[in-house]
């Protein structure tokens, strides 16, 4: 793929027979900038579905064909495809034409790495989809997917807003893990203690919490902290009014330090 941006612009009458023309132009474009077959297949599908939406929905069937502009821009390993019409705009459609699968937009959403639909101020609809480029051997394309959390993870701005969120999430996690009501209350206390921590001990402006069931137990990981922050939080985790340390409520409390920063690992049993 060439380093500089390569741009293709097409202006078409919004008619079904022009969809093939768009695909052939894209095939030529794919040749010109050396895109792989998988990328070309995705671009053809997106362009066809987007143009079909314009042909079928944008312009009244009994009127003259409207205009569709298709633009493809390849740069920095991404192809951006823009399909623009000046029709009736994007609207909810309670009644679909007979035989419609309503598959068009979901299909675009599935094959594009990202896409959005806008209603430009001067009317009509603009659909913009981006596809990461696979080279001719098929390497490098496809959507990058973040690895799933082992169970659930959340981040909430440190300070007073953290308390109700963390307490509720820990309570539902404890319920799901079959904890007794009393142990659930301990979970809520833990949440309160975490939320009451000093925001400046965290490495980011938010409190991160990951929760997973580890065997019959519940494992909670809090962080990331700045260096020494986890230990300071632990020292402060004297539960207000009870005189009981968090270390007594939990089976295991450890400060873990790795490339992801410093974390506090806490394990509870039901």
């Amino acid at each position: 793929m060439t380093a500089e941006a390569t741009e293709l612009r097409l202006g078409l009458a919004a008619r079904a027979e022009n969809l093939a023309l768009v695909r052939q132009a894209l095939a030529g474009f794919a040749d010109a900038v050396a895109l792989g077959d998988g990328t070309l297949a995705d671009l053809k599908q997106i362009a066809t579905e987007a143009c079909m939406n314009s042909v079928v929905h944008a312009y009244p069937a009994d009127g003259e064909a409207g205009r569709i502009d298709v633009t493809a821009i390849a740069s920095n390993g991404v192809v951006e495809l823009r399909v623009r019409d000046w029709g009736l705009g994007f609207r909810p459609r309670p009644a679909e034409p007979e035989g419609s699968l309503r598959l068009g937009l979901p299909l675009i959403a599935t094959v594009a790495d990202s896409f959005e639909i806008a209603s430009p101020a001067d009317g009509g609809t603009l659909l913009v989809a981006r596809v990461r480029v696979a080279d001719a051997e098929g390497n490098g394309g496809g959507k990058p997917r973040p690895s799933p959390p082992r169970e659930a993870e959340l981040a909430i701005t440190a300070g007073t807003s953290a308390r109700p969120v963390i307490a509720r999430v820990l309570a539902i996690a404890a319920t799901r893990a079959g904890f007794s009501l009393e142990r659930m209350s301990d979970g809520v206390l833990l949440g309160d203690a975490i939320a009451a921590g000093d925001a400046s001990d965290f490495a980011e402006s938010s409190v991160g919490l990951s929760i997973e069931e580890c065997g019959p137990n519940l494992c909670v990981r809090v962080g990331p902290f700045i260096e020494g922050g986890a230990k300071r939080m632990l020292d402060r985790m004297e539960l207000p009014g009870l005189g009981v340390s968090i270390t007594k409520l939990a089976n295991r409390v450890e400060v873990e330090s790795d490339a992801a920063g410093e974390h506090l690992a806490i394990e509870f049993s039901p």
């Binding site: 060439t2 969809l19 093939a20 010109a32 070309l40």
Partner: protein
């Protein structure tokens, strides 16, 4: 930009054709070649209607199709419903040649839903099994 003398690799059959064939034993085969979209969906529907009207099972052969969009998938599902309502089998054959067809069948889940068989022979065999079971 370099001028490339050949684009043979992408020199696909642009115009979509629809052909009805009789596979005997009360099975109608509808063959789609080339690219199919909203522009050819009337012809595809006509071919499917012809096959279902013959009163037997229907096989849609996509082995030589190079592109299908959601309007064609809608027509296939509609034909399958019509066949099922009259108690006849329906199967799709696709040997996996054209990337756009393979991809759309895969991402929509229709490869399993329709279902799709790897050859016309396999589709016919599956229908035979269905009709006798």
């Amino acid at each position: 930009m370099e001028v490339r003398p050949s684009y043979a690799a992408r020199d696909v059959e642009v115009v979509g054709e629809v052909r009805n064939e009789d596979a005997g034993d009360r099975v109608g085969v509808v063959v789609l070649t080339g690219e199919h979209d909203l522009g050819t969906v009337p012809r595809v529907k006509e071919g499917l209607a012809g096959a279902t009207a013959a009163g037997g099972a229907v096989v849609v052969d996509l082995c030589e199709a190079t592109f299908v969009d959601s309007s064609i998938l809608g027509a296939l599902l509609e034909a399958r419903r019509t066949a099922a309502e009259s108690g006849h089998g329906f199967a799709v054959a696709f040997s996996g040649g054209a990337e756009p067809v393979r991809r759309v069948l895969e991402v929509t889940g229709l490869a399993e839903e329709l279902p799709v068989h790897p050859s016309r022979e396999a589709a016919l065999a599956a229908l035979g099994a269905q009709e006798t079971s």
